[in-house]
């Protein structure tokens, strides 16, 4: 048997995970959560899934799963899929790949306001109307930094789930900045970058500083997750994300995802 043939055989074996399985990449994703994913496959994680699958000579097969607590763990661990994209690196109870991007919480305000807020310790925040996502039963991380400064009264909570019957519920937070309902949003970067691109009013996006408060980080490495023990698939994903990193970066840029080092 010639060596070229051998290599091809090994690649196919890895791609399909186990000998008996067809070359299908089973992905769990939210059907209504741009810029990450939606059922029309318009999200950047849909594009990344296609990229990965193409490099495995496989087809993406989705299990659509509405967002809720422990979505990734539950969907992965009950076998609904083999991959969940866009989890925090090192997340417990799953195996995560080498991170493929790093983003941060950001301030979002209208350009015409000229607020120039860069820090969570900026005294202006005591009086401005601040919008933040409320995630399940908790606020997004920067809320802790504000609460410790006694800033709670002027925070407006926007449910991350929102009205799930509407399109892209998280975008309401960014729309509220554009419409002037709130002065400033403190948002996870990907929401801000993507929805600001589409806003009718020019918006300014600035990473929050400090990068951590009380040991709580505001910038996070983002990875893909597979089930614990599925080292083969993790290695394959790591290889593809590495060799295709230029394409990955192009996709992230198209969606306006703010990145930090």
């Amino acid at each position: 048997m010639c060596s070229a043939f051998r290599s091809l055989f090994i690649a196919l074996t890895i791609a399909s995970g186990v000998f008996a399985q067809p070359a299908v990449l089973k992905v769990c994703a939210d059907p209504n959560n741009l810029p990450f994913s939606n059922q029309q496959q318009q999200g950047f994680e849909n594009k990344l899934a296609d990229l990965i699958a193409t490099n495995m000579n496989a087809k993406v097969e989705y299990t659509w799963w509405s967002q809720h607590k422990n979505f990734g763990k539950q969907s992965l661990n009950v076998g609904a899929c083999d991959v969940v994209l866009g989890v925090t690196a090192g997340m417990q109870d799953v195996l995560t790949t080498t991170p493929y991007y790093r983003s941060t919480y950001v301030f979002v305000s209208r350009q015409d306001r000229g607020l120039q807020i860069k820090s969570l310790l900026d005294p202006q925040l005591a009086t401005l109307r601040i919008g933040m996502h409320i995630v399940g039963d908790d606020f997004a991380p920067p809320a802790i930094a504000l609460a410790r400064q006694g800033i709670t009264k002027n925070i407006v909570g926007f449910s991350l789930f929102g009205d799930y019957g509407e399109v892209n519920p998280p975008r309401k937070l960014i729309d509220a900045v554009a419409s002037g309902d709130i002065d400033v949003a403190i948002s996870w970067g990907p929401f801000a970058g993507y929805f600001a691109q589409q806003a009718k009013t020019p918006l300014v996006i600035t990473p929050v500083t400090p990068a951590a408060f009380l040991g709580i980080p505001f910038a996070y490495d983002i990875s893909a997750a597979v089930r614990q023990g599925n080292e083969t698939l993790k290695a394959e994903l790591d290889r593809i994300l590495q060799t295709q990193s230029a394409t990955v970066q192009r996709i992230l840029a198209q969606y306006g995802i703010p990145q930090v080092q």
Partner: protein
């Protein structure tokens, strides 16, 4: 629950009869019920408006209960938690299932109680992703020829008890905003009372009054917000100074936080027809982290007395101001007439999540006593002068780690309804013995979004047993006897004039104990753990029967019914850590069991 009807020849008679039954049997407080003959039916989960869960049937008694045998059974074919009480009306048994909330009618006049019909409301499948703690339903209410109950996707439906056909259906909210309904409604003065669930999803809590004939919404009382939204008006007279003032549902929150502050009404409602007041409690305020909601957070974790026709609030009492531990105030309120310090008082008995069993004057909201009925270290008593609970500062949650805080978030007792025996004067309480630790977590994750939350781990309290079934003297304010159970006792209780009290355990034992000593008299192993509500009735053959749904699940049993990973102790909001071994003792699956003497 389901609703079935019996022989057609009974229809006209039964409708007229039902009105009388509701008036006479369910429309009175416990003290008066004592002298009423029990009609042998079971028209609402709590048996009567006073919520005693006490039957005067005594054919099954302490001397013969040891011979109790399975009479028949019925499978629901579902695997989520079965928390409902069956209803028995006109020799038909009605059973409501967890999602998809089917209503079965079973014909008790025929051997084996064959199915008469099934009503399938087909709630929205996405409601499953929204429900916080398993897709349970706690039961139905029989009123004027109709079985009225709620579906997980925020609708109330009335079904003709004879035909199984829908009479009306009303959408009360939107599953897409995180709301759901798991509670059993009650009907008072022709008004259906229904409240929402969803406190873990940043929803705004409410309780609705619907016209029982048409399903039309008459009023909606929010759990937070300005007085006009809470239906607080000029007749509102809270007993304690701390609960008085304009628009406290706004002023006790930072900014607009009340709009996402929870205070739902997901559990039991009692009604006193003489005072014309109904009673219920609200859920914990949100978000979980108390640092982000400085203030009392009214009207979270509070009791309300309201008028059924208008929803108008007459008094309120906040049990856990600025709740730190997820201590909802939603547990049952048993309406009793008790002799307290030589005076006959109309009271309500409320065993709260925070660990105190409150005896409250139900006309005024004055707390007459508040003693712990389990191990508590998160607070150090209730000041009866001010009505304030004295929180323990060393057990305050926040963005730091606390350990050995007792009780854990499900409380010394959760929704699991107690019973009150008019013979013994004791309250029989199914409850928990759980403590917890709460740790700030840095990088949790939800669908592309990192967030910070609290990682909660629960574990057994002092003694190592996770559950207790105890008898409480509401006059002396002390425990008379208690039985330790391995798992939290997550079923309801049933008291009978036969000196026998029934309850079930999560490892699947349905038990009968002596009402004065707690001594076990009989037990039966059901196919799955029990989190349902036992009921008793007289069959068409004149025999007394006892019925219970088995089918483990709910918040406590989600580790089995929801297939959660036992290695992840933070699952089910931290409950999984205390329940990791449940799967070794029981498996899931809904089944109704009905027992009688041979």
């Amino acid at each position: 629950m389901y609703n079935l009807q019996r022989a057609l020849s009974c229809v006209l008679h039964s409708s007229a009869y039902a009105v009388i039954v509701v008036t006479l049997v369910t429309g009175i407080a416990a003290g008066q019920i004592q002298n009423q003959p029990d009609d042998g039916q079971w028209l609402m989960p709590a048996k009567n408006y006073a919520s005693t869960r006490y039957s005067t049937l005594d054919q099954i008694n302490a001397a013969n209960v040891g011979g109790l045998k399975l009479a028949w059974s019925f499978s629901t074919g579902l695997t989520h938690g079965h928390e409902a009480a069956p209803l028995i009306v006109n020799n038909t048994m009605y059973v409501v299932t967890p999602y998809p909330n089917n209503l079965y009618a079973l014909d008790l006049t025929k051997p084996g109680a064959p199915m008469k019909w099934v009503f399938q409301p087909e709630p929205s499948p996405s409601s499953q992703g929204v429900a916080c703690c398993d897709t349970v339903n706690r039961g139905a209410f029989y009123w004027n020829g109709k079985i009225i109950y709620n579906t997980l996707d925020v609708q109330t439906v009335a079904v003709d008890a004879n035909t199984g056909k829908q009479v009306w259906k009303t959408k009360l909210g939107d599953i897409n905003t995180g709301e759901s309904i798991t509670m059993a409604p009650i009907v008072a003065k022709g008004v259906v009372l229904v409240g929402n669930s969803g406190g873990e999803f940043g929803v705004r809590g409410w309780l609705c009054g619907l016209d029982a004939d048409t399903g039309k919404i008459k009023w909606r009382a929010y759990g937070a917000g300005p007085d006009k939204d809470v239906l607080i008006g000029s007749n509102f007279k809270p007993f304690y100074q701390k609960d008085r003032g304009a628009d406290l549902g706004v002023k006790t929150w930072p900014g607009d936080a009340w709009k996402i502050g929870g205070a739902t009404a997901w559990s039991w409602i009692s009604y006193d027809p003489q005072l014309d007041l109904f009673y219920y409690g609200t859920s914990n305020p949100g978000p979980w982290n108390p640092e982000q909601r400085p203030g009392d957070n009214k009207w979270g974790s509070s009791l309300f007395a309201r008028r059924p026709e208008t929803g108008e609030a007459i008094w309120a009492y906040q049990l856990s101001p600025h709740d730190l531990h997820d201590y909802d105030a939603v547990n049952e309120n048993i309406l009793l007439d008790l002799n307290i310090n030589g005076q006959q008082r109309k009271v309500l008995a409320h065993p709260d999540r925070n660990g105190y069993l409150y005896i409250i004057d139900r006309a005024t909201g004055e707390v007459l006593s508040a003693q712990t009925f389990g191990y508590v270290n998160t607070s150090e008593g209730v000041d009866l002068k001010t009505g304030l609970v004295k929180w323990n500062p060393t057990k305050q949650t926040g963005y730091h780690t606390i350990r050995d805080a007792c009780p854990a978030p499900p409380g010394v007792k959760d929704w699991t309804p107690s019973a009150y025996s008019l013979k013994t004067g004791l309250i029989y309480i199914p409850h928990n013995n759980l403590c917890y630790e709460s740790q700030a977590t840095q990088a949790n994750y939800i669908e592309g979004t990192p967030y910070v939350g609290m990682t909660v781990r629960m574990y057994p309290g002092p003694g190592g047993n996770r559950g207790v079934f105890s008898a409480w003297d509401p006059v002396q304010a002390k425990t008379v006897w208690s039985v330790n159970e391995m798992f939290p006792v997550w079923s309801g209780a049933l008291a009978t004039a036969g000196d026998v009290v029934f309850y079930g355990t999560m490892d699947g034992w349905f038990k009968a104990v002596d009402d004065r000593s707690g001594k076990e008299l009989w037990r039966f192993k059901t196919g799955s753990g029990i989190i349902g509500q036992p009921v008793t009735y007289r069959g068409p053959d004149g025999k007394q029967y006892v019925a219970i749904l088995s089918g483990v699940g709910g918040w406590a049993g989600g580790i089995v019914s929801g297939g959660l990973n036992a290695a992840d102790g933070t699952g089910a909001l931290g409950f999984s850590n205390a329940m990791a071994d449940l799967g070794k003792y029981t498996t899931k699956g809904g089944m109704l069991y009905v027992f009688s003497l041979p």
